[in-house]
């Protein structure tokens, strides 16, 4: 299969404008004849559903939560990037583009990333107009702060609750359209499968999570805005409900899955404390603006932080990367933390932790300033750990966070199934092998507010209505498959709970396909996962029945998909014999432990095609062309 990215020709800065002009339009009077399904109501889905409804399309929006306002975008803390250059410190669209391309270790598509930078300023305008209470300077203008991977201050924020405020902005736009009847909202409804007829996405099959009923919905286009798959690791910073099912089902129906092995490990999370733990909590990367990261200089130093004199501390990020220091990108900061812990210099009960220390900043700025900047984060830390971070340094450790991989999409955000669009974290397009901080919110909103409304119009203008309703036999077929699968899960009647399988899978993934990977480990994981999967289908215990609210059943369906998807991730990691960004293959590193790319072989996107349950997926490659940025070794020294 030839992957056509449909990148417009012409100079980088003019591509999007040119493309917008060339795209087909749908006459306003005809828009109401089209129905669009949006799955997910986070930043990408909520913004997209609202914007499409404003244009006049009929929108059906689905989310598994009890309200669209609870999508996991709400948990993002730190901020959103935009190349406004309000700080007069040298920012521009090109610099944001450049930082993002470099941050992604040259594994993202230039044209998409440039467009992201271009629309970033509009996002801030849009959100401010909606009443999002961004932080302000005393003069009444917007405030900015800096974030990892950048040397300019381009991050807009709303205390430590930026994701929440931006999501509430999108939710309010969505609410307005729901109130008008232009969006029909389906909360507590989980998409189980996508229906493809004659090669076009024509609708979805869902489970009503309250009644357990399986229903079908038809539409002229389907948008997946279903987030990332970091819960494949069981422990991650994602909400408990985040899952890969929608994306994975689309993959099984013919959409290609791109770069699944690109998963980001976030450097500043609260460390794991015990076996019972259900999730990991992230402390915003913005803390690294003022917090200094260190460990004791010698191994097995069990003194309290306060008792270790300056000279016996190792501020390892400042030492190794003097120009970016504590603001080094996430992949580099995470790996560095792992290295010092591997050397036996980690802190805390488990030895898997490093200090994030605010003593200097409190001395320099005073406690009030620190409280103003990070108060709610400090509060949250104290709640979870029972320790006061104003008095002693925080303990942090890396954790699985964001997934750069996702369904392959072209420049129009359309997958390889015509009519199936994928936005936000669920697609692969903008972050390459590593995402810079404050870029996820930017991408979600860029896709939802400013890109999808154009490209979906082009698709509908070219293709016209699908003319297919749920009475088409294929909907019935997919519904039957869904019901059979549910029935099968409920009747296994084994001994092991769903969560225990999920935890086992998570351990395999973290151990062999986590922060670092190597050939032997990946091969081992590829042997272990199918064994675990077989055991799951023989021995899982799912109580209750299908026709009711059944949380065990919901989780079982998701874990079943993770058990297949984990294997795909390992396949991809094994195939990519280089290190890039967050994908660190131990065989490919410099003597100093830096990633070594293989640009000759891997300046590309690996997109996997499902070839059947018992067959290995086939690999399709999109070559990435760098016409504007020279491929260079990433250096933050």
């Amino acid at each position: 299969m030839k992957l056509d990215a449909k990148t417009p020709s012409g100079p980088l800065a003019e591509k999007w404008d040119k493309h917008k002009f060339e795209m087909k339009l749908v006459n306003p009077a005809n828009k109401r004849k089209f129905t669009i399904i949006v799955v997910g109501s986070g930043l990408a889905g909520g913004a997209g559903a609202a914007s499409l409804a404003e244009l006049g399309y009929n929108v059906l929006c689905f989310c598994y939560q009890d309200s669209p306002r609870r999508a996991h975008s709400i948990s993002a803390q730190g901020g959103i990037n935009a190349s406004k250059n309000y700080q007069n410190d040298g920012d521009s669209d090109y610099r944001l583009f450049y930082d993002t391309i470099k941050g992604g270790d040259f594994r993202s598509r230039e044209a998409n990333v440039y467009r992201l930078a271009q629309v970033s300023s509009n996002i801030i305008d849009q959100c401010a107009a909606q009443g999002v209470p961004f932080a302000r300077e005393y003069g009444g203008l917007l405030a900015n702060r800096s974030f990892g991977g950048a040397q300019v201050s381009r991050t807009f924020y709303a205390r430590g609750q930026t994701g929440q405020q931006l999501l509430l902005g999108a939710y309010s736009a969505l609410s307005r359209q729901i109130g008008r009847g232009q969006v029909k909202m389906f909360p507590r409804t989980e998409m189980i499968d996508v229906v493809v007829i004659d090669g076009r996405a024509c609708g979805i099959v869902v489970r009503d999570m309250v009644t357990g009923k399986i229903n079908s919905y038809a539409a002229d286009a389907v948008v997946l805005a279903t987030g990332g798959y970091a819960n494949v690791f069981y422990l991650s910073t994602n909400a408990k409900g985040c899952n890969v099912t929608a994306a994975y089902r689309a993959y099984k129906r013919g959409a290609l899955f791109a770069d699944p092995c690109f998963t980001q490990i976030h450097p500043t999370c609260i460390p794991v404390s015990g076996e019972y733990q259900s999730k990991l909590t992230l402390m915003s990367e913005s803390l690294r603006n003022d917090g200094r990261i260190w460990v004791p200089a010698k191994a097995d130093d069990s003194r309290r932080a306060a008792d270790i004199p300056e000279g016996e501390r190792d501020y390892y990020l400042e030492r190794k990367y003097p120009s970016f220091g504590n603001l080094s990108p996430r992949d580099i900061s995470s790996r560095s933390a792992m290295e010092v812990c591997d050397e036996g210099r980690g802190i805390g009960a488990t030895g898997r932790g490093v200090y994030l220390d605010f003593a200097d900043a409190i001395g320099r700025l005073g406690e009030d300033v620190i409280r103003e900047r990070y108060g709610n984060l400090f509060h949250m830390y104290e709640k979870i750990t029972g320790e006061n971070p104003y008095l002693q340094p925080m303990h942090i450790y890396p954790a699985a966070h964001y997934t750069m991989g996702g369904l392959w999409v072209d420049y129009n955000l359309e997958s390889t199934i015509p009519g199936l669009f994928v936005v936000g974290e669920a697609n692969f397009s903008d972050h390459g092998a590593n995402r810079l901080g404050a870029s996820a919110l930017m991408q979600g909103l860029a896709d939802g507010y400013f890109i999808l409304p154009y490209t979906i119009g082009d698709f509908l203008g070219r293709s016209g209505p699908s003319g297919i309703g749920t009475e088409h036999g294929e909907f019935g077929n997919v519904e039957s498959e869904t019901k059979e699968r549910t029935e099968r899960l409920l009747t296994i009647g084994g001994k092991q709970t769903v969560d225990s399988f999920h935890r086992e899978l998570g351990k395999i993934m973290w151990e062999y396909c986590g922060m670092t990977r190597n050939e032997a480990g990946l091969k081992k994981a590829l042997e272990m996962i199918p064994v675990l999967r077989d055991r799951f289908w023989q021995d899982v215990l799912v109580p209750g029945v299908g026709e009711e609210l059944n949380q065990s059943l919901e989780r079982a369906g998701r874990v079943a998909d993770f058990l297949e998807f984990g294997e795909l991730m390992c396949h991809d990691a094994l195939n990519r014999t280089e290190s890039c960004g967050a994908h660190f293959r131990e065989e490919y590193q410099t003597e100093e432990g830096e990633a070594v790319r293989n640009d000759k072989k891997f300046t590309n996107v690996s997109a996997w095609k499902f070839e059947g349950a018992d067959t290995s997926p086939s690999l399709h490659v999109e070559n990435l062309e760098f016409e504007n940025v020279h491929l260079a070794t990433r250096s933050y020294k």
Binding site: G131, G140, Q164, S172
Partner: protein
């Protein structure tokens, strides 16, 4: 630590419901309250019993999904905390803990501890927004806002919509929830154009959903996990009064 739990079990909206007794054994004090329930549920599942259904998602205190009445207090004994951020170190070995769902006419029970809070969404759909279409905006710095006003808007907009205010109010009033949203926009220039229609529709929808009125007991403020102040209710009342005068 070992605990005795009394948990509200209710098969579905039609079922009458009852308290059931469970033992939570060998609970680590670092666990969150929901992790403690996870442990109990794993145990129940393995014993062939139906696990306890409860709502939760982010487990970071921000999505507003979790909703338990613990020993009669919404989100439990710790002030300014959601249940997912409540840790077992705040309980003692041997404690008996009563766990119930939010109780309000506007929040029907779906199963066990899970309630339907879509009434709050419908209030939002009635007017909890600034009417602005995508892409028709001015530069963000063209709308300067004094920091003090912006901070007040931010204080109000930290509401996570969990419904604890409703659950703790003897009138089951959603006043703090509505007040938070109205107050956010009342402090911002963007919200001024629609201030009259917004407050009228939101208050009307609140009554239509079966939420009670506010009689100034301030239980809502006491349990709000985001510590939203009842000052917002004063703001709501002023906005509402102004809106009524304008209409007359």
């Amino acid at each position: 630590m070992n605990l005795t739990l009394f948990v509200w079990r209710q098969k579905d909206a039609e079922d009458k419901g009852r308290m059931e007794r469970y033992e939570a054994k060998e609970i680590n004090s670092h666990m969150s309250f929901l992790e403690m329930l996870d442990v109990v549920n794993e145990d129940l599942t393995e014993k062939g019993q139906d696990p306890i259904a409860f709502d939760h998602d982010c487990r970071e205190g921000i999505c507003g999904t979790c909703s338990l009445m613990i020993n009669g207090t919404a989100h439990g004994p710790e002030p300014g905390t959601t249940v997912c951020q409540l840790h077992m170190r705040h309980f003692k070995d041997g404690d008996a803990i009563y766990i119930e769902p939010w109780r309000a006419r506007a929040f029907p029970v779906i199963k066990d501890l899970v309630v339907d809070r879509t009434a709050l969404d419908r209030i939002m759909y009635s007017g909890g927004f600034v009417s602005v279409n995508t892409g028709v905006t001015v530069d963000a710095n063209a709308i300067p806002i004094p920091k003090s006003e912006s901070d007040k808007a931010m204080d109000a907009s930290s509401c996570i919509g969990c419904g604890a205010c409703v659950a703790s109010c003897k009138n089951a009033s959603a006043m703090l929830f509505v007040a938070a949203k109205v107050s956010q926009f009342a402090h911002l220039p963007q919200g001024k154009v629609e201030r009259t229609s917004r407050v009228r529709s939101m208050v009307a929808q609140m009554s239509a959903e079966g939420f009670g009125g506010c009689t100034n007991f301030f239980e809502c403020e006491a349990v709000c996990p985001k510590e939203i102040s009842v000052d917002t209710i004063a703001k709501l009342n002023r906005e509402y009064m102004m809106a009524r005068i304008k209409v007359k």
